[in-house]
Symmetry: C2
Subunit: 595 residues, 2 copies
């Protein structure tokens, strides 16, 4: 068996008559009256191999002993299948391989689950036997797509003159990085490195170093309380550039996305992509990452209802809040009071005190609160909400953020339940004009909405000292189908502005110097204007692959509690290892250690 190996899935009618060597796994074995059929799988796909009367006694005997997932090496001849056995569902369904020689390269125990798509298995079992889970066609497909997506973007960035560069993983912890993973140093007792949450400062230093165009598929780490769609380590496509405006950075990103969608999905994306300001996104969709594949937009009816007799609406507006509504088209008759009660419970999760509703019947509004509105007001409402007969109108009256959060979430929930989202569409858009700062009442100070290195909008720099609330950031987020794909900004490149920013964020001069001295120094030595963008690669692959679970796009992911059921990481370590690091366990860890 010294022939050059051929790939199972690549065999076609052209190969009929050829002798081939195949190596791969047993997908399925059938024994039909002394003739044995095996579907042999390798990275290219499947082919049917046959042990029949032409096969030697010895080979037949081996074939009989073979089970699912055995690894085989085969030599045989490609033949046309009998017309009655042609399998049109199989890429190689026209042909089969009559085996001359077989050898078993490795055996396999009966796997804990069938290596087939669609098998319903708990995720814990899938992760424990990840090497089997990954053999399934849809997983193989996802990681081929992930590979291809990476190469398409790399090629684009290479053509545009970007250099791929590697920033350190063993970096310094900063107090702003409350969720840093720490790495104790053995050589420097009592000192710690931190794993990067992003290469933010290093990529800025690369710009100061004059490279002008940098990218990296950067591994980032965040020790957050995990949610289903978060991972302790994740990959972002990190891009930074000098001398470019926000518009130029967005245009470059659009070109990259356009190429990606064309080459990976065969989908044409029109550019420039739509842009929407943060304020408008909140007003119209109740979200800073709106899913624009469907309408059902929020409509602000505050002006129409603030003088109405319905006190709940009127007082919400007069106390500084607002009233918005969504129009659930044609669904008035499909929602019972009970159904609407359930929706009311849903919006309460988001802090709403209630959900008001009206139905449109014969061009009039019906429902318990209809009576509070004059006929003229009703017509205005119907007009504002572009409503017609059988539409269901749902209202929330509250503080702005509650209105946004609750109606934004309700809009998504109803769209999914009513199946109005065209899952085959890819709706990209930019959200721009973000607030630079967010005031935290508990902490009694401003925090950076993105990060402390974000450039304020040119026209707002003056307001930093006087009206920090009103300052917009030179920042932009790329949104796809309701997910934040990533975001970027121009960065502050002048020392005095960066110092001003630290001041607004409540840093004393000493704190700023202690933590960010190297950045402030770098800004003094000819830092160019610069900015960039970072896109979440795992999530991008998830959306391109049509998956809903981020873990399906990461080769060896962690669970929601940041463990790996395969290797059992994290694990305990020996006292000797701790001693070498000059560390001791305390608190809860002591209890763990005694167990």
């Amino acid at each position: 068996m010294t022939e050059k190996r051929q790939l199972a899935g690549d065999l076609t009618k052209v190969d009929v008559g050829s002798k081939v060597t195949l190596k791969g796994w047993v997908q399925k074995r059938r024994d039909l009256g002394g003739v044995i059929f095996i579907d042999l799988r390798d990275r290219s796909g499947l082919v049917q191999v046959v042990f029949n009367l032409e096969t030697s006694e010895e080979a037949l005997e081996i074939a009989e002993s073979v089970r699912s997932e055995y690894v085989l090496e085969l030599v045989g001849k490609v033949v046309l299948r009998d017309p009655s056995t042609i399998n049109p569902k199989m890429k190689t369904g026209d042909i089969e391989v009559i085996v001359d020689e077989i050898s078993i390269l490795n055996e396999a125990k009966n796997p804990p689950f069938t290596v087939l798509d669609g098998t319903d298995i708990s995720e814990d079992v899938r992760l424990k036997y990840r090497y089997l889970d990954l053999r399934r066609e849809s997983m193989q497909e996802t990681f081929r797509l992930r590979h291809q997506a990476a190469q398409v973007m790399r090629n684009f960035l290479n053509e545009e003159g970007y250099l791929e560069m590697e920033t350190p993983m063993l970096t310094k912890s900063t107090p702003e990085g409350a969720r840093d993973y720490l790495v104790p140093s053995r050589v420097h007792a009592g000192h710690f490195y931190a794993l990067p949450q992003s290469p933010q400062l290093f990529k800025q230093l690369i710009m100061v170093a004059g490279f002008e165009r940098y990218y990296q598929f950067a591994r980032c780490f965040r020790d957050e309380d995990l949610r289903a769609d978060r991972q302790p380590e994740f990959t972002q496509i990190d891009i930074e550039t000098s001398f470019m405006t926000s518009d130029e950075i967005m245009a470059m990103t659009e070109k990259m996305i356009q190429r990606l969608m064309k080459e990976v999905k065969g989908v044409d994306i029109n550019t420039p992509l739509p842009r929407i300001s943060y304020d408008e996104a909140m007003n119209r969709y109740g979200s800073d990452k709106p899913d624009t594949r469907f309408d059902m937009e929020l409509v602000d009816v505050s002006e129409l209802v603030k003088n109405s007799d319905f006190k709940v609406f009127a007082s919400a507006v007069t106390s500084g809040g607002k009233v918005s509504a969504i129009n659930v088209k044609n669904e008035a008759n499909n929602f019972s009071r009970k159904d609407i009660d359930k929706l009311t419970d849903f919006v309460k999760i988001y802090g709403a005190k209630g959900l008001a509703w009206l139905k449109v019947e014969e061009e009039n509004l019906k429902g318990p609160i209809a009576k509070f509105f004059t006929e003229a007001d009703q017509l205005d409402l119907i007009h504002a909400l572009d409503a017609s007969d059988s539409d269901l109108l749902l209202f929330v009256a509250d503080e702005k953020n509650v209105v946004y959060d609750s109606l934004g979430a309700l809009r998504l929930k109803l769209a999914k339940e009513l199946n109005v989202i065209d899952e085959s569409r890819f709706h990209f858009l930019w959200v721009t004009d973000w607030p630079l700062l967010e005031y935290d009442k508990d902490a009694g100070r401003y925090f950076a909405a993105h990060h402390p290195f974000t450039m304020p909008a040119d026209e707002d720099v003056e307001k930093l000292a006087t009206n920090p609330d009103e300052v917009k950031a030179a920042a932009y987020d790329l949104v796809l189908n309701g997910f934040e794909l990533g975001g970027g900004s121009l960065r502050i490149h002048k020392k005095d502005l960066q110092e001003k920013m630290f001041e607004v964020l409540g840093f004393s001069k000493e704190e700023a110097t202690e933590q960010f001295d190297f950045l402030l120094q770098a800004l003094e030595y000819g830092a160019p204007p610069h900015g960039g963008i970072a896109l979440g690669f795992d999530r991008m692959v998830m959306l391109l692959a049509g998956k809903t679970n981020l873990r399906d796009t990461i080769l060896f992911p962690k669970t929601a509690s940041a463990t790996d059921p395969l290797t059992n990481a994290p694990g305990t370590v020996s006292q000797a290892q701790l001693d070498e690091l000059s560390l001791g366990l305390s608190g809860e860890a002591l209890i763990v250690n005694e167990e």
Copy 2:
């Protein structure tokens, strides 16, 4: 100033007459009687810009205020230089740009060192101001080369059907990994992740998962006592493949290296590359990573001298050691006794008890030990060492390893001092047939020479139980100019052999299961035959760029004591951070903290 920016270094005679917008740094400013010349630098190179009588008063005034490393935006017209001022050393030396408009994008303090190659600066200062150090042309060149080398290898691997895949950084610590960096878990008190020393087990699992061809530019971590050429984090090109033989893996690697050398250095490399066994490498070069750009090979003269009257030689051989010599051609008259005494001190570093020498004069051996050899023996020695008049012969008689280490090091030292190495050559070769195991007298057990997952040579499997010393590994190292570029092996893909291997390494069944249960399990479910190679990317770039310091090839490297003078990593952390991790400081760390 809204014109599309052009790159300084790309301007040529073709642009003469055009209006251009430039952005970049001031490399140098000269003021010649009211005319100001600035060498403007951007990522593409330099161009001379001129403020002369045609320039507005206002622009001239700004130009006068400009200093080195200021960041400028300029609009001007490209003109031919006056023939007398053409600068043939400068790529754009034919032309210059007469400036119409100038604006200062950022100022710069006087830098701590000139941003020019060849400036002699201490490495600490270079690392502290890395962003300035990196602006220098040779550093820019190195990182462009690093980028290009990565892309060439990626393209090659992509064409060969390899998928780029990402393995986790937060993994499990194993006792074999004594030099793991640990990462405490916040969620799981008392538990730790480990940063990977290599993705060894994950790439094997990728093979078990059926992907067949994987690669990654993998960040790896090793908490070693650092040496000049080691870094706590480094990048390796990690390749793994199923169903390929050692020969096929080496041939694939050679094709990649051939492409790399052609595209990056314009150098043709003949394949197949030379191969030499580990034993032969030690015998001929006293090194397992021989520099074959020059001869001066070790010659084993044990047989010739074992019966001689020179007891030092004779007894070394009879007690199981050996006598080898190198021939320093034509240098007999250039080495005084004092010089040779210095060489003797040098070999003592490597444990040699002394260095014997002979000179060839009129086809006879001269020197204090010549008298111990008969005329016939002398002729045999001269013949064996291919010696002729004026050659200096240097001998070490000792245990084998001492002979190899000392003469191997001496060979390199003399070659450097005598300048016999052609630095422009790239000598690649494979070292094969490595021992699988190494016996550690202190520990009283065998250790894996590479790692415990390396496949023994087919013909030696039987000897694992009986003569572990004699077992060769299916392993191969790629050597370039005396540096180990990387290495690989076939891996064990059967559970029983892997268990046998753990047993030979002194693991109890329980220990093996506790630490490597997931691997042993994976080998039971249809693991294909597989193997791979990992190449050190930092070192590869160092050799391609003609650098001698590994730190010059890493963007933000650590010092020899694993610190970063730029960010001051590692640093201390707050008690609150430690409490969150259920950790306390102990031992030395307590003292640090009190300081």
